[in-house]
Amino acid sequence: MGYLELQNLHRDFGTVKALNGINISLGEGEFLSLLGPSGCGKTTALRLVAGFDRPNQGRIIVDGKDVTAVAPNKRDMGMVFQAYSLFPNMTARQNVEFGLKIRGKSKGDRAKPVDELLELVGLSHAVDRYPHQLSGGMQQRVALARALAIQPRVLLLDEPLSALDAKVRVQLREEIRRIQLELGITTLYVTHDQEEALAVSDHVAVMYGGVIEQMGTPSEMYTAPATPFVAEFIGTMNRLDATVVDGGTGEVEHAGMRLRVDAAQGRRNGERVLVLIRPESLELEAATNGGAPNSFVGEVLTQTFLGPVTRVKVTGSGTNLIADMSTARAAALPVGARVSAKIPSEGAKLISLPDDGPGLPVLDPDDH
């Protein structure tokens, strides 16, 4: 049994089912991200754990104790909000020591842990500033220290970086992870930014429509999306509608073309599937006369410079494909050039279509 358990949580707002049966089990000291688009229920789930809201059904268990009915101020959970949550009338230090003050700790007992925390978040130089004198990033550091000061049983973060600049965002997410590992604190992190979630988490749960679509380690989520939604949401993915034509050799047909995909071996003939190919595993070459095996022939539509990598969009035979390749190689394939795109038979994944409805992630046996 995990340290933090969410068991069959339901929450309705009128006719809207914000949460429709959520189950999560998180070990002590682990970092789980709830990832999904806005309205998917991830913040609702977090607020249930914090106690700001009560579930219609289900239980929340921390360290073996059912806390579902416990008031938020007795739960010992530290929470970091999106933004502007610091008490504006208190300095950074006063904000951080607030929780200890409420717990009746004397001034002397408060000083040391508060100083240590402010140092941990790198704000020793700004302890006496008021929130409006701090940058957005610094405010979130104070908010983090404030949440940690009460030595919470679980740390809750509700999109803490969404209001910050891109650069600060990357820097701060790494620090959050560093501090989390250093303190070994069980953490629930809500975000809509898949890159962020993959970068910092032990586990990621992708939510959509009030249910968890898939839960796993970041690399599992990236390399083996279990549902079309997860495939779409995490990273960029080429998706080809196809039908299995030969389950023995692993051949599928897409737009009149036959492709070999290892993952299709053992599939029932005639089964509808979605072939998923990451842009970085698609290989582009200038088209020679004869089409290479397992390849599309098309024309370069656009090139988007992304630094070391250039994203090339190819169109042909009614299919659009995206490929990421080194900028140097992309220079040889200008817009309008005829190219062939090779589908890697090993790198491509398959998802059965149509899916079996939300709530039951369709796991592909070949992927494990």
Binding site: F81, Y84, S85, M90, I102
Partner: protein, 307 residues
């Protein structure tokens, strides 16, 4: 401000025509100033000269010679009593109106109260805050006067004789109760935006960190609102202190407050010493200035975190 446009355009053909905005801006500056002359002239004629006349007149005798006699007289009976009563009415209605208004505004704005309650409250407050003077006095005489509807109801239905309890609508307490009718809505109008500024996150963060509701208000809610509360209360004080018509009509001019005393020197036949009225007007200035002297450091202290 008459012809500035035409003049400006005609000079635009000058060498600096490449940057007409700067060229015309420089040329037009004096003319633009000229455009504000009517406003300034009016303010001086009808605001500054009269205000100066009051200040000056307070220190002059009948023959316009300088004297302190008028101002000195203010410290004697009945003038000093009028200031005391005025001050007391103002401070009581500012404090109670301020606190009760705060609670009503918060009740309307807080989570869980439907949004239409707030818009109705704001509309009604806008009307009530502007409903003062003679009609207001009459409405309260109709309710709490000796034959008022509420007085009679209490007497006949609940056997409670309000006027047997030493209450009278034309007493100090009666004036205070009546003033509440515009003090409360004024407080609601002024404080509502500040209550809007209280973020949900603060309450949740406090609760999350273990604070009970009263602890949130003690350490966060009230300190954050305090600058606005103080500002609103000083406004309420000035509002009550300046009020004349309501008290005049309630008591037929018998309540001993400063504006009524000043008025008596004009509407009565006691015009022999207008300088005394001017001294009393000066005294009102002085009280308001004194209040500001107390208010400003309080405000600065309460708002030091916002600087």
């Amino acid at each position: 401000m008459a012809d500035e446009g035409r003049v400006g355009i005609s000079t635009d053909a000058a060498p600096q025509a490449l940057r007409p905005d700067i060229a015309s801006g420089r040329r037009r500056l004096p003319l633009a100033w000229l455009g504000t002359v009517p406003f300034f002239a009016y303010a001086i004629a009808f605001l500054f000269v009269p205000a100066g006349a009051v200040l000056l007149g307070a220190f002059q005798d009948k023959n316009d010679n300088p004297t302190l006699a008028n101002v000195r007289l203010l410290f004697n009976h009945p003038y000093i009593d009028a200031y005391k009563t005025s001050f007391e009415i103002s401070i009581v209605t500012a404090l109670i109106g301020g606190i009760v208004g705060l609670f009503i505004a918060y009740a309307a704005i807080r989570e869980g109260t439907p949004a239409w309650v707030r818009s109705i409250l704001t509309t009604f407050s806008g009307v009530a805050a502007n409903f003062g003077g003679i009609p207001l006095a009459f409405a309260f005489i109709a309710s709490l006067g000796p034959l008022g509807i509420v007085t009679v109801f209490l007497k006949n239905q609940l056997h409670f004789d309000l006027y047997g309890q030493n209450f009278a609508i034309y007493s100090k307490l009666g004036v205070e109760i009546t003033y509440m009718y515009f003090q409360l809505p004024l407080m609601i109008l002024v404080i509502a935006p500040a209550i809007d500024g209280l973020r949900k996150e603060w309450r949740e963060a406090a609760s999350n960190l273990g604070a009970k509701q009263w602890q949130f208000w003690r350490y966060v809610g009230l300190p954050v609102l305090m600058p606005s509360i103080l500002g609103a209360m000083i406004l309420l004080f000035g509002n009550a202190f300046a009020a004349y018509a309501t008290a005049y009509s309630l008591s037929s001019g018998s309540v001993n407050i400063v504006p009524i005393l000043i008025g008596a020197y004009y509407s009565g036949n006691v015009l022999d010493n207008p300088h005394l009225a001017q001294a009393m007007a000066f005294g009102m200035f002085a009280v308001l200035a004194l209040m500001m002297l107390i208010y400003i450091p309080l405000q600065r202290r309460a708002a030091r975190w916002a600087k």
